[in-house]
Amino acid sequence: MNPLAIIGRATLALIRTAGALAIFSVRGLMAALAPPWYLDQLRAQLLRIGFFSLPVVGLTAVFTGAALALNIYTGGSRFNAEQFVPDIVVLGITRELGPVLASLMLAGRVSAAMAAEIGAMRVTEQIDALKTLSTDPFRFLVAPRVTAAVICVPLLVLVADIIGVFGGYAVSTQTLGFNGATYIRNTMNFVTNWDVISGLIKAAVFGYIIALMGCYHGYNSRRGAQGVGRATTNAVVSAAILIFAANYVLTTLFV
């Protein structure tokens, strides 16, 4: 095999995917922004993405906050800076770990579910059936999911911020000997609105990525159960990678 041909083919495939994804996301966005909206579908997705993800996000946050506090304490104690634990914990959680870890967990939970559901609809011709019933699948399937994710993920991350800080607080007061009131006061004095808001902006972008990857891979799945399985895996992996990449880009903008 000619190596140039292999590189060329891979490049073309990449460009083709990027193009297809761009068209898909524009169509999804247009469907989300202009009526008709299927509000009952949106409500169902808000419940599914938002409410039922709370346990996953909460558990992720509390353990992350606790572990973060321990690590910062260890690091800080090397140059007598243990008192900065509350500050670094809240900064780390709100700006970085809250949005990124919560979104990664949601990529596993939500992207996978969307890809599997829409993929199954594709291979059983339900998407074709939608079209014959004069209903645009982008409006009926994609738009509610994208909208719900963009609304829910920031809210979930806000919850994760609070629970994550609490995790740090709990371990600091229980095992590291911090005074509870001082810990809270330090946290509140240190954290800025922008720390929180920039994290929530990230979360909205990640929410878009999560829903888009789930819908895109599901919508384009082929070849029966095997194709749906592949779509599910691809949705999770690509959502996770795009979250990391977007996180880097947004962080460079927000510092």
Binding site: Y38, E125, Q126, D128, A129, L133, S134, D136
Partner: protein, 256 residues
């Protein structure tokens, strides 16, 4: 004045890679007529219906509904053309997240914006037409047998009284009595309501009952077409073999 056909296809080609499924289909169907398409498994009957519906895009050729070219439409324009159609998919294609009655009433609820109570009455009436009790209305498609799913799909196809109805194997998987109910139902849609229908079936009993005309698809072309009563003495060896279900004849049973 010559009637313009309701559905008109000219030189429609469709391939999947090297699999040349449709190889130049010409077909006209007048309004209020019922056409049955017969042909071997994998010959492209379902693909033909999907091309007419715009769910698949033909590689070549034009498809007109009411004299208006419909292939290549998208978005709102396509949705508007779809309002003329009712389609029963071969596999049912019911929405498994919705109940049976919501499936049947889907167009009324989501495309026409009908109130739920009223849409539900329409759905239950359509279910009765396909011999399904009102208490199936609240079940989910996964709780139904294959034949029941087919009938729910049929109810969904006819509930909004479309001008054009496509039935992909409406009676496969049904017992002979229910199949007869369905045959009569399809016949009535055409004779009493003036719908234009294309049905696909392998069941010659059903074909004779439903059809005004029968067409046979073979190797990507319509090789025979005629009034339903002529199908038994078509003079076409392919049709004769298909109708009598014989292993010997011009149609190769196993290639190679």
């Amino acid at each position: 004045m010559a009637d313009t056909p309701k559905i008109s296809l000219r030189g429609v080609y469709k391939s999947f890679g090297s699999n040349h499924v449709l190889r130049g289909i010409d077909l006209d169907l007048a309004a209020g007529r019922s056409l049955v398409i017969i042909g071997g498994s994998g010959m492209g009957k379902s693909v033909l219906l999907k091309c007419i519906l715009g769910l698949m895009h033909p590689d070549k050729g034009t498809i007109c509904i009411d004299n208006e070219k419909v292939n290549g439409l998208s978005g709102r324009k396509q949705a508007k053309v779809m309002a003329k159609f009712g389609m029963l998919f071969q596999g049912g294609a019911l929405f498994d997240s919705l109940t049976v009655w919501e499936n049947v009433a889907f167009r009324l609820l989501y495309a026409d914006g009908m109130k739920r109570k009223q849409a539900r009455e329409h759905a239950i009436a359509a279910l009765a037409q396909v011999n399904l009790e009102a208490d199936t209305a609240l079940l989910r498609p996964a709780e139904l047998s294959g034949g029941m799913q087919k009938r729910v799909g049929l109810a969904r196809a006819i509930v909004a009284r479309p001008q054009i109805m496509f039935f992909d194997e409406p009676t496969t998987g049904l017992d002979p009595i229910t199949a007869d109910v369905i045959n009569n139902l399809i016949r009535r849609q055409v004779s009493a309501l003036g719908a234009t229908a294309i049905s696909i079936t392998h069941d010659m009993v059903s074909a004779r009952k439903i059809a005004d005309e029968i067409a046979m698809l073979y190797e990507g072309k319509i090789i025979w077409r005629g009034p339903a009563k002529d199908v038994d003495h078509s003079g076409n060896p392919y049709v004769e073999q298909f109708v009598t279900g014989s292993e010997t004849g011009p149609i190769k049973v196993m290639a190679g």
